[in-house]
């Protein structure tokens, strides 16, 4: 049943956030430290285990897949409730940071490719 997948997702989410909150207390920041990341890690491990061992059937998977498909629409909704008016004064920052970030990332491609030594085609 689809609800089994949704429940598994919810369990990963809640456990991840609890761990994130606890970690926040441990390291002394008033924040959820990496809770979403932990939750994703649990979901990867458990859903892979479930599919391999057959306890997470197609119906249950569809419960998770639905939320996964809702991700971009929810991000659209999230964008539309931000304080954009206040952010516009930081507009040049957003554009500048985004563009410089991309430029730096592009520059790294040939560097990593070179060090990983995968240029067989060129030899031939």
């Amino acid at each position: 049943m689809a609800i089994y997948g949704v429940a598994l997702l919810a369990a990963c989410y809640l456990v991840g956030l609890v761990i994130g909150d606890m970690l926040g207390v441990v390291v002394g920041v008033k924040a959820n430290v990496g809770g979403v990341g932990f939750a994703m890690l649990f979901l990867i491990l458990l859903s892979n285990h479930g599919i391999d061992h057959g306890w997470l059937d197609k119906k249950a998977q569809s419960g998770i897949a639905f939320w996964s498909a809702m991700y971009i629409p929810i991000v659209v909704a999230m964008s539309s409730i931000q304080n954009v008016v206040a952010a516009l004064k930081g507009g040049p920052l957003a554009i500048g940071a985004g563009l410089v970030g991309v430029t730096v990332a592009f520059a790294f491609i040939p560097i990593i490719a070179k060090f990983s030594g995968d240029k067989k085609e060129e030899v031939a």
Partner: protein, 255 residues
């Protein structure tokens, strides 16, 4: 009988359901626009940009700080786009990741992912510092936003950043995503983007799933799955590192 009053009453009472319909319509229109650009700019980027425009309209007309949700009729969008649904949906995207595929990416994937997150994060932090947001939480949130438009708000929410800083972080991520889509075909020769391995490195460095997919599709559709494979992990690792280790690192450096 005031039909308009009845309709708006029903829509306000069922705000979340109304927002599903509304976001669906926005998505439909923006993906049609994307098709008109022959997919050069991915529909999701246009949709998110439209969301930011709506947020601006909502804020400017009401003076409120919650974007389009400042208008009572659209308050339901605030629930759909709020922290709970957002994080829940983000976690669910990890479902698509296959452990065997992760292993296939190997060291190159891990190195490019870490370098991609670190370089974007550092660029964002430094630029935030010099452009009027010198406090640690804002720097980290904007740095995370340069990673992707999801890592930014997740980090910002975790650290308690203000809404305008979170909006900047989203905008920075959207700029990056759009820039990747548009620039990739032009720089492909300079950076040697013509084989699966460099596509995997590309995905790990850029991280934006939509930008990577659209950018690689414009170069060579055969490369898309390789780039998408590494990009899948970027947001998750970013959400893990930015509000934790990287935040603490910046906090330590800044004193």
């Amino acid at each position: 009988m005031d039909i308009l009053a009845i309709i708006s009453k029903v829509f306000i009472k069922n705000g979340l359901v109304f927002s599903f319909m509304l976001i669906g319509i926005i998505t439909f229109i923006t993906y049609k626009i994307s098709a008109m650009t022959k997919g050069k700019v991915h529909g999701s980027a246009i949709a998110i940009f439209t969301g930011l425009v709506l947020a601006y309209i909502g804020g400017i007309t009401t003076g409120g700080s919650k974007g389009i949700a400042s208008i009572p009729l659209f308050a339901g969008v605030g629930m759909m786009g709020g922290g709970m649904f957002r994080d829940f949906a983000i976690v669910s995207t990890a479902f698509g990741a296959d452990l065997r595929e992760i292993k296939k990416c190997g060291m190159v994937g891990v190195v490019s992912l870490l370098l991609g997150i670190l370089s974007s994060f550092i660029v964002g932090c430094i630029m935030a510092y010099f452009m009027g947001y010198p406090d640690v939480v804002s720097m980290v949130t904007i740095g995370a936003g340069v990673c992707t438009f999801v890592v930014g708000p997740v980090t910002g929410a975790a650290l308690g950043a203000s809404s305008d800083v979170i909006a900047i972080s989203i905008a920075a991520g959207v700029v990056k995503s759009v820039a990747v889509m548009i620039l990739t075909p032009f720089v492909k020769d300079f950076v040697g983007l013509d084989n699966p391995k460099s596509a995997m490195i590309f995905g790990g460095l850029m991280g934006t799933s939509s930008g990577t997919a659209a950018g690689l599709a414009a170069v060579d559709p055969k490369l898309v799955p390789y780039g998408a494979m590494t990009a899948t992990f970027y947001t998750g690792i970013g959400c893990l590192l930015c509000p934790s280790i990287l935040y603490l690192a910046v906090k330590t450096i800044m004193g």
